[in-house]
């Protein structure tokens, strides 16, 4: 396909407007079908038995009593999910996480499952399964796990990325390093140096919809899976591989998804549901409880980070260095590596070095959480940047502007930037009215910046034009927050027709070619590129059909505003043909009209944001409250600005929860103590103010409309913005997230004692 993805600076008719989303009415009337809203005739209820231990050898599992219980149709253990991963270590970890094989590696690790005629029978059956465990010492803290004396979670792990292979196994799976220049020399040129250590606790994406699926495996080797997921094509691949099915014989339909934020990018219970269905010979519905979601899906990493930044008196940063340790659960990850890449991405640095360590702990397997790994690194770096500005006596915004990366800057993780938004978001912050608003007693203002790469990836889209001239757009990226609206706008824009004439659907895995997941803020970026490409292919056919209808050469036909137009004076008597007219005649001019597109969406433009935050701290209790919040972020081009604002606001709210309150709390026994929304408290409506947004549009040169991903960057700055506000409001530098009331109060009291 000769598709040119370069930015063309066109004038928009549909893109940038704010119509009502096509899936809206179903969602406000309760008709939309989410993961748990689907049922099949004869379906069974699946339930999973989970380890209550943080680390234990599984000596024996006796399922005989459960199997004999009336109404139980299948009981499975790891033996029913044999290892078909053929040396693929990452897939083996997925398999082991879905169903523990020889060891339970965290509180909540699946060890067996049942399918029964109803939920109460299934629950009863779980109690009849007898598992003999041999308890092993466990470790849940990231720093503790790195010590030589820590219990080994996997004795086959020898740290990768070191110059020499270590002699002994450890919990550190990998070391990674990024940067350029000579930091030692750079610090030598610094007049001021700030060096700090930080910790962040583990948080969960907190989507309101628990994981849910219905699996149906037939004896002929075909299967269906209905599931809430961010990537049904990826789920198909993983499930097919683990179950030994042919991918094309497993049809996966993505339901409406009730939030994912990265947490629905991995298979958890789906292979178990398929294995239960295969054994029982009936459809099986498997829905996680909230307790299971917290204990056994994939929260983000807990981290421990050291940062050192030096600057000259004039405010130029001379060197920056960070060491980042990220927990990955009991399986290898690349989370610290991503943190190490993002840490200093906002700045233009001659000398920069970051080192990441991936650390195994007896906690659930880490999964992506919105700009995964970046918020923690930004918390550490942006806190230290504020401290350094203070030492220099510089305004924190001016200090950042002076050191901000620009077009042509070599980023701290390698690539050279094209046109980017860090400078413009900082300039916008500097002049924003929020910056000049007065503050009251116990109130303080903070700001911070954030970066996310944005992903592109494999994308396939079909655009079919009906004989009535309506357009159906089939996309393969799951709609997590309004992308059917934005992609309909793009199709309407390209074809020159009304938004209402387009109907976008998310197609199942048997109806469309492979698509990567909706992750990395790629949904609208990638699928809009594929939609534009598909529409342009359809326009070629529409022009050709119009040429046939007029009996003139196709080269004389152009497409403008939804019409074929015969170009040139000699065709003055030919009235323009609308898409509808051409579609109506399609049966006589060559059949159905469609445009297809299969592409790898390259060139996702990087994304930057600057946030401003005011908080009020109660010095008696340490409780902090956000009283004003502003998000300024580059969207490239906001396709549907209302949903872009929604992404900015939602990310900020998640970041506020992370900064102030959310954390996984483990007991000494290695068990999660707050596996519910009562004790793992996410922000509620009365916790937050309105969240103001400002959309900047610095076109991405690698997308026809200039679109960049917008979904994730907004969660990156809040941790540091709030910590910086806390420093200004209460006079304490918080280095441990969340800044929950007890931690803040302890810091305030320590500060008072220090002064006394």
């Amino acid at each position: 396909m000769n598709f040119d993805p370069r930015f063309s600076g066109r004038k928009f008719a549909s893109v940038g407007t704010r119509p009502i989303r096509p899936d809206g009415i179903d969602k406000v009337t309760g008709r939309a079908r989410y993961g748990a809203d689907f049922n099949m005739a004869g379906q069974l209820v699946g339930r999973i038995l989970r380890s209550p231990h943080a680390h234990a050898k599984i000596l024996k599992i006796d399922t005989s009593k459960a199997e004999k219980l009336a109404g139980v149709k299948a009981v499975i253990t790891a033996a029913d999910l044999p290892d078909l991963t053929d040396g693929d270590a990452a897939m083996y970890d997925v398999l082991d996480n879905c169903m523990a094989r020889s060891k339970a590696l965290y509180d909540g690790h699946a060890v067996a499952a049942v399918a029964a005629v109803d939920a109460s029978t299934a629950r009863q059956a779980l109690k009849l399964i007898q598992v003999a465990y041999e308890l092993l010492p466990h470790v849940t803290d990231v720093d503790e796990a790195m010590k030589h004396t820590a219990p080994l979670i996997n004795d086959t792990i020898f740290t990768e990325g070191l110059e020499e292979k270590p002699v002994k196994p450890s919990n550190v799976t990998k070391r990674s390093q990024f940067g350029h220049g000579d930091v030692h020399q750079g610090f030598g040129h610094a007049d001021f140096i700030v060096e700090r250590s930080f910790k962040t606790e583990q948080t969960h994406q907190g989507y309101i919809e628990p994981h849910a699926c219905v699996a149906n495996v037939s004896s002929d080797g075909t299967a269906d899976l209905w599931v809430c997921t961010q990537g049904h094509f990826v789920y198909r691949q993983h499930c097919a591989q683990l179950l030994g099915l042919e991918a094309s014989k497993l049809r996966v339909t993505s339901s409406e998804i009730g939030g994912g934020f990265g947490g629905k990018t991995h298979v958890w219970a789906e292979p178990v549901a398929l294995a239960l269905s295969r054994k029982a010979g009936r459809p099986v519905k498997l829905v996680m409880t909230r307790d299971e979601v917290f204990r056994a899906s994939g929260p983000t990493s807990a981290t421990s980070i050291d940062v050192k930044i030096g600057a000259r008196k004039d405010g130029t940063i001379t060197a920056a260095e960070a060491t980042l340790r990220y927990s990955s659960g009991p399986y290898a990850g690349t989370w610290a590596e991503i943190g190490a890449m993002t840490a200093f991405a906002c700045y233009k640095l001659d000398n920069v070095k970051t080192v990441g360590y991936e650390v195994l702990v007896n906690r659930p397997k880490t999964a992506a959480y919105r700009a995964p790994s970046a918020p923690m690194a930004a918390f550490a770096v942006e806190s230290a940047v504020d401290e350094l500005a203070k030492e220099l006596g510089m305004d924190p915004v001016e200090f950042r502007i002076k050191n901000a990366a620009q077009e042509g800057t070599r980023s701290s993780y390698g690539p050279v930037y094209g046109p980017i938004g860090i400078g413009p978001t900082l300039e916008a912050a500097k002049t924003h009215p929020h910056m000049k608003a007065p503050l009251g007693k116990n109130q303080g203002r903070g700001m911070a910046c954030g970066f996310w790469f944005n992903f592109g990836g494999q994308t396939c889209t079909d655009l079919n034009i009906g004989m009535d001239g309506s357009v159906s757009l089939a996309v393969g990226t799951v709609d997590v927050g309004g992308s059917r609206a934005s992609l309909s706008l793009v199709a309407a824009e390209e074809l020159g027709i009304a938004y209402e004439q387009v109907k976008a659907v998310v197609a199942d895995t048997s109806s469309l070619g492979y698509n990567d997941m909706t992750d990395g803020s790629r949904g609208t970026f990638s699928s809009s590129m594929a939609t534009i490409s598909a529409a342009r292919n359809a326009i070629k056919i529409l022009r050709d059909r119009a040429a046939q209808m007029w009996d003139i050469p196709v080269d004389d036909v152009v497409w403008e505003n939804g019409h074929a137009i015969a170009k040139g004076e000699k065709y003055g008597n030919l009235a323009a043909l609308s898409l509808k007219e051409i579609a109506a005649a399609s049966g006589k001019t060559g059949g159905p009209i469609a445009g297809h597109s299969e592409l790898v969406a390259d060139g996702a433009g990087v994304s930057f944001a600057t946030h401003i935050c005011d908080i009020e701290v109660d010095p008696e209790t340490g409780a902090a409250r956000v009283i004003r919040y502003t998000v300024i972020q580059d969207a490239g081009k906001a396709v549907h600005p209302t949903y872009v604002e929604g992404q900015y606001q939602g990310g900020a709210a998640q970041g506020i929860g992370w900064a102030l309150n959310e954390e996984y709390i483990y007991g000494k026994d290695g068990r999660l103590q707050n596996a519910g929304f009562l004790d793992y408290r996410i922000p509620v409506c009365s916790d937050l103010p309105m969240i103001d947004t400002q959309i900047l549009e610095i076109p991405n040169p690698n997308h026809p409309y200039g679109v960049r991903g917008v979904g994730e960057t907004s969660i990156v700055p809040p941790l540091a913005a709030i910590a910086n506000a806390m420093s200004n409001a209460a006079g304490v530098r918080m280095t441990h997230i969340p800044m929950s009331p007890p931690r803040v109060l302890a810091a305030i009291e320590a500060e008072r004692e220090g002064r006394a």
């Binding site: 009337t29 604002e645 409506c685």
Partner: protein, 158 residues
């Protein structure tokens, strides 16, 4: 266990069903009656996704037994629109994009309906506290609050 026979009114319709004594009203609505608008986000009354109105009182249907609906009046999100005509709150949620994933939306709509029935002219703070029993993880609540404010204004004028 023997089932409990229940006779109740749901969204204005007379409904009869059999349920187990330990079965929640949420499970009855979803699994026995096909009313899947109410969602189970937690099962412990913490998220509000299963909000319904029971005899003019906002409740989490996951904390009510199916048997308790006997002789009472149940309102769910499925009863908010009249034919093609959406309730003002539903319309304003769409116009303000007060939903992203939409899983919390039925609960918010029901909670907001209950709030406006009791306080037709709420302040922003009253809306925020009135909806504090419902969790939304996508929107940061900004557009939800604005939609409810707008709906309240329209409904006052009606």
């Amino acid at each position: 266990m023997a089932g409990v026979a229940v006779s109740t009114t749901i969204n204005g319709d007379h409904v009869e069903y059999l349920c187990q004594p330990d079965e929640t009203l949420l499970d009855v609505l979803r699994d026995r009656l096909g009313l899947t608008g109410a969602k189970e986000g937690c099962g412990t009354g913490d998220c509000g996704a299963c909000s319904i109105i029971l005899d003019n009182r906002l409740v989490c249907s996951c904390l009510v037994l199916g048997a308790e609906a006997e002789g009472r009046i149940v309102e769910t999100v499925e009863g908010m629109a009249h034919g093609e005509k959406l309730h003002t709150l539903q319309q304003k949620f769409l116009e303000h994009a007060a939903l992203q994933c939409g899983i919390c939306t039925p609960g918010f709509l029901i909670a907001a309906k209950d709030l406006l029935a009791k306080n037709p002219d709420p302040s922003e703070e009253e809306i925020r506290f009135g909806l504090a029993g419902n969790l939304c993880r996508c929107t940061g609540y900004d557009k939800i609050v604005r939609a409810v404010q707008d709906a309240a204004n329209v409904m006052k004028g009606a």
